[in-house]
């Protein structure tokens, strides 16, 4: 009976070991390949990679992947601006009242951690139970008419919200793919968040722009220079008057006089003024003030230039450009975009082709504005404002004033991936440099080795043969953990390694419980074999209870934690399962084998 039982146990051990090796094998191969490739020259490596593309790819996919904190890279959480989306869906029906409802609902949904659309509908009905959402929302496609009920519109808005997030994910995936990142991770989190993981990326700024760019391309006309100068004059008057009054008022150290940081003598006649990069936020703040806003006519907008035009004391200077508020043409009409070079200056630019409808409108706009500039605005920043020389009939246009070829490529990427349905905000961003990642891997490895060494020696000193057996189980335990991680395609993070180290210390606990119990039974006068049987049997309930509770805690950690912390929870869970198996089953088989003769002696210290 007992023999059979052990046969089953041995079968289990062999099966688990086999599975572990099966799952860990690609990782081993992948490491060898990488080492092999590192010894090659650049050209050899590229050739080798091309020849073995499929094989390398499959190896990489199946091998145990390292978290961004270990291999370096960028982790970004984006939030889809649902309130903005709901406002924009109302289109021309939107008014101040709707905006106010949306703002309140956004606050409530944040406070209570609930879905924004639900809160919006609730708030709308709370303010006026009889009000109809159909006043604001129509859609032919979704069959939303003047007679649609509030609940019909609510579900329409929810669909739109889901669709917007899905579309945003698609667009981001296409942008990231064009950018060229190996193994990017893009997934939805909650109902309006998107997590983007980009291993090996170190050009954060570029990625940031790439992810955030809503690709809202606009063509706008510019005001007459007289009009601009007129407003400038009013600015000068307003702020010099403020200056006179300010001496007594200006105690809180805030800049009151815009003109100290914002120079109205811009480089061209259409620029409204310029400021150093570090002052742009302050300039925006002052321009937002009501009294200042009232100086600017409704049909004029002041937008920042996309690129700096000069440097001053190491600070980049940016100009505010006066454009018309009305948008003549949007990027929807762009059918193709590519990088081109200005034949005269050889500067990179993006050349765009419009569809037939856009081409017709473009011809009309250019025809009516010969000799005047048209501003090309992308995401609220003016790239260039070339003067129209003649009517353009072929639907072509280009964006010049671009910093470099890379930026031009990114722009093409953004334009071709399509416009985001709603603005995305970066709410979390973490980057780890490759060298810190390497240092972390090294630190993790040392910790595992030292931890293992110290515990293994202690166990042998304290429990003699028993300790040695526990050590074998401990080694297998670590291999099992890695196998489980690889098998479930989990990612190994630095906290994950910490989890493994911790498991080393706690994994011996089950054996300590068992061996102490065996010692106790021996003290009670039992034979070695009876003591072993009783020791294993009596220690079981404590082992189970202790591990089940710890496992619960790990599950909770997994469901609430994000990023690397999830990795910690996963290794903790894997560690509990593996250590239970190795401490109870593997040591038992070894102990039984060593005590198979009646006369055999195994020391438990």
């Amino acid at each position: 009976m007992k023999k059979q039982n052990n046969g089953f146990k041995i079968g289990c051990i062999v099966l688990f070991l086999g599975l572990t090796i099966y799952y860990l094998f690609p990782t081993l191969q992948w490491n060898l390949e990488q080492r092999h490739m590192a010894s090659m020259t650049e050209s050899e490596r590229i050739q080798y990679e091309n020849e073995n593309l499929a094989k390398l790819q499959s190896l990489r996919e199946r091998s145990l992947s390292l978290g961004l904190d270990l291999q370096g890279g960028m982790y970004v959480t984006l939030e889809v601006g649902t309130p903005q989306l709901i406002l924009e869906l109302a289109g021309d029906f939107a008014d101040d009242y709707l905006e106010d409802v949306i703002r309140t609902a956004a606050d409530i949904s944040f406070e209570q951690n609930t879905n924004f659309v639900d809160e919006f509908v609730d708030e709308f009905e709370r303010r006026d139970p009889d009000a109809m959402l159909s006043r604001y929302y129509r859609s032919d496609a979704a069959n939303i008419t003047r007679r649609s009920t509030n609940s019909e519109i609510a579900s329409y808005l929810r669909e739109q919200q889901t669709a917007a997030v899905e579309r945003a994910i698609e667009i981001i995936r296409s942008r990231v793919d064009r950018f060229g990142v190996t193994e990017p991770g893009i997934l939805q989190q909650g109902n309006n968040r998107i997590v983007v993981e980009l291993p090996g990326v170190d050009d954060e700024e570029r990625v940031r722009d790439l992810l955030r760019g809503t690709a809202r391309l606009e063509f706008r006309l510019t005001p007459e220079t007289d009009e601009i100068n007129n407003v400038k004059q009013q600015f000068t008057n307003y702020f010099s008057q403020l200056e006179e009054e300010a001496d007594s008022l200006n105690e809180n150290g805030e800049t009151k006089n815009l003109l100290e940081i914002f120079d109205l003598r811009g480089p061209t006649q259409y620029s409204f003024g310029y400021a150093a990069a570090r002052d742009t936020a302050e300039v925006n703040r002052i321009l937002q003030q009501e009294e200042v806003q009232s100086l600017i006519p409704g049909n004029m907008s002041l937008l920042w230039s996309a690129n700096s035009f000069a440097q001053d004391n190491g600070f980049e200077l940016y100009e505010k450009i006066a454009v018309r508020s009305q948008i003549e043409l949007t990027g929807d009409v762009i059918s193709e975009a590519r990088v081109a070079f200005d034949p005269n200056t050889n500067a990179p630019e993006v050349s765009m082709t419009m569809d037939s409808d856009g081409g017709r409108r473009w011809a009309r706009i250019t025809g009516a504005n010969i000799g005047r500039p048209v501003a090309i605005v992308l995401d609220q920043r003016v790239y260039s404002y070339p003067t129209v020389r003649s009517q353009i009939n072929n639907g072509r246009s280009s964006i010049s004033g671009i910093g470099g070829v890379r930026e031009a490529e990114d722009l093409v990427n953004i334009l071709m991936s399509g416009a985001l349905p709603a603005p995305l905000e970066i709410i979390e961003e973490r980057t780890v440099g490759a060298s810190l990642g390497e240092a972390s891997i090294r630190a993790g490895l040392y910790s595992v080795m030292f931890g293992l060494g110290v515990v293994a020696i202690f166990m042998i000193v304290y429990y003699r043969t028993g300790g040695g057996i526990a050590d074998i189980a401990l080694m297998l335990n670590i291999i099992f953990i890695l196998g489980i991680l690889a098998g479930f395609q989990a990612t190994l993070t630095l906290p994950g390694i910490a989890g493994i180290v911790l498991t080393i210390g706690m994994a011996v606990d089950a054996n300590v419980l068992i061996f102490d119990r065996i010692r106790e039974e021996l003290r009670g006068g039992k034979t070695l074999r009876a003591a072993i049987d009783n020791g294993y049997a009596n220690a079981m309930s404590a082992i189970i209870d202790a591990n089940v509770t710890t496992f619960f805690v790990a599950v909770i950690l997994y469901s609430f934690g994000v990023g690397p912390i999830k990795g910690f929870a996963v290794t903790l869970m894997a560690g509990i399962v593996a250590s239970l198996f190795s401490a109870i089953v593997i040591t038992r088989v070894i102990v039984d084998y060593l005590t198979r003769e009646k006369t055999s002696v195994v020391s438990f210290g």
């Binding site: 959480t77 190491g314 030292f450």
Partner: protein, 305 residues
């Protein structure tokens, strides 16, 4: 080797000293937390955090004062492992690209000709930070609730649950207190972030391990020694399991110390919380949890007519 082979300590009798000691620590912790406030890290406070590596040793005090003017606020700066690496934390609404440029430009002013590499950047928006805070809070409450229910079911007595939970709360509270008091003084980052919450939950799991093993022995002994009074039985159970408690604590303390020493700068705070947790967890399961069970059980008995 054998430790505590047949010990016979009176743990329950020592509980007055333990209560005094634990009570003192808890009061100090609470006072520290309420007067100084929890030292939230970037995850729970929001803001921007950078790790820079310089090619030469830097002076943290000098950097702090030199950066105050251009940043418009005093940044939190701490050495990060060596005297050439710093951890810089700043609360700002500015774009992270902008902050980074401002910082690098100013480093060039302060240490002309030095090369600075950015090792790590973290940006957490204020709303996201609040979400993380909420998540952390719920995860701890949830963990304690699950533990309470599980122990209640397995050991059939609310006083076992209450004793275990009190011991866990005791451990977490004191670690929080130590982290708060150490604040700026510690030579490594001891701010409370997600990793520390993970450490807390691990402490909860670990401390629970110890407690559950003792409770299990109490359950077993209460069947074998039916006539023994409750206090003596608990004392016997504590002594029976003492050797195991000490051995497991020693091995776990070994590994968390290894993690603290060799685990690298990123894990320092996390490993430190674990070291404290293992020590406190062992202490509380020996002196606090069981003593509370005895106390609660006695009161429950008295309450019954």
């Amino acid at each position: 080797m054998r430790w505590f082979e047949t010990p016979n300590f009176d743990f329950i009798k020592a509980h007055n000293i333990a209560y005094f000691f634990s009570g003192g620590l808890i009061v100090i912790s609470l006072v520290a937390i309420f007067t100084m406030g929890l030292n939230y890290g970037i995850d729970f406070r929001g803001g921007q955090e950078f790790v820079f590596e310089f090619d030469r040793p830097v002076d943290v005090v000098e950097l702090r004062s030199e950066l105050q003017e251009p940043l418009g606020t005093v940044p939190e700066i701490k050495l990060f492992g060596s005297d050439r690496e710093i951890l810089l934390r700043i609360d700002t609404e500015e774009d992270i690209t902008q902050t980074r440029q401002t910082l690098l430009a100013n480093f060039e002013n302060i240490y002309p000709g030095s090369t600075v590499t950015v090792q790590k950047t973290d940006l957490v928006g204020p709303r996201f930070a609040e979400d993380l805070r909420r998540g952390a809070f719920y995860s701890i409450i949830f963990a304690l609730a699950v533990v309470f229910i599980y122990i209640f079911i397995r050991f059939k007595g609310w006083y076992f649950s209450a004793g275990a939970i009190a011991a866990l709360a005791h451990d977490v509270l004191i670690v929080l207190g130590i982290f708060t008091i150490m604040g700026e003084l510690a030579p490594f980052d001891v701010s409370i972030d997600q990793a520390i919450i993970a450490a807390f939950l691990t402490i909860v799991g670990y401390s629970l391990n110890d407690t559950v093993v003792v409770f299990d022995r109490i359950r077993e002994n209460s069947i074998i020694y039916k006539t023994m009074n409750f206090t003596d039985m608990i004392n016997k159970s504590l002594n029976d399991t003492l050797s195991r408690t000490v051995v497991t604590s020693v091995t776990t303390l070994f590994v968390v110390s290894v993690l603290f020493i060799f685990g690298g700068e990123v894990l320092k705070g996390f490993a430190f919380a674990l070291v404290l947790g293992v020590i406190l967890g062992t202490y509380s399961s020996l002196f606090v949890a069981s003593a509370l069970v005895v106390e609660l059980q006695k009161r429950a008995m008295k309450a019954k007519p």
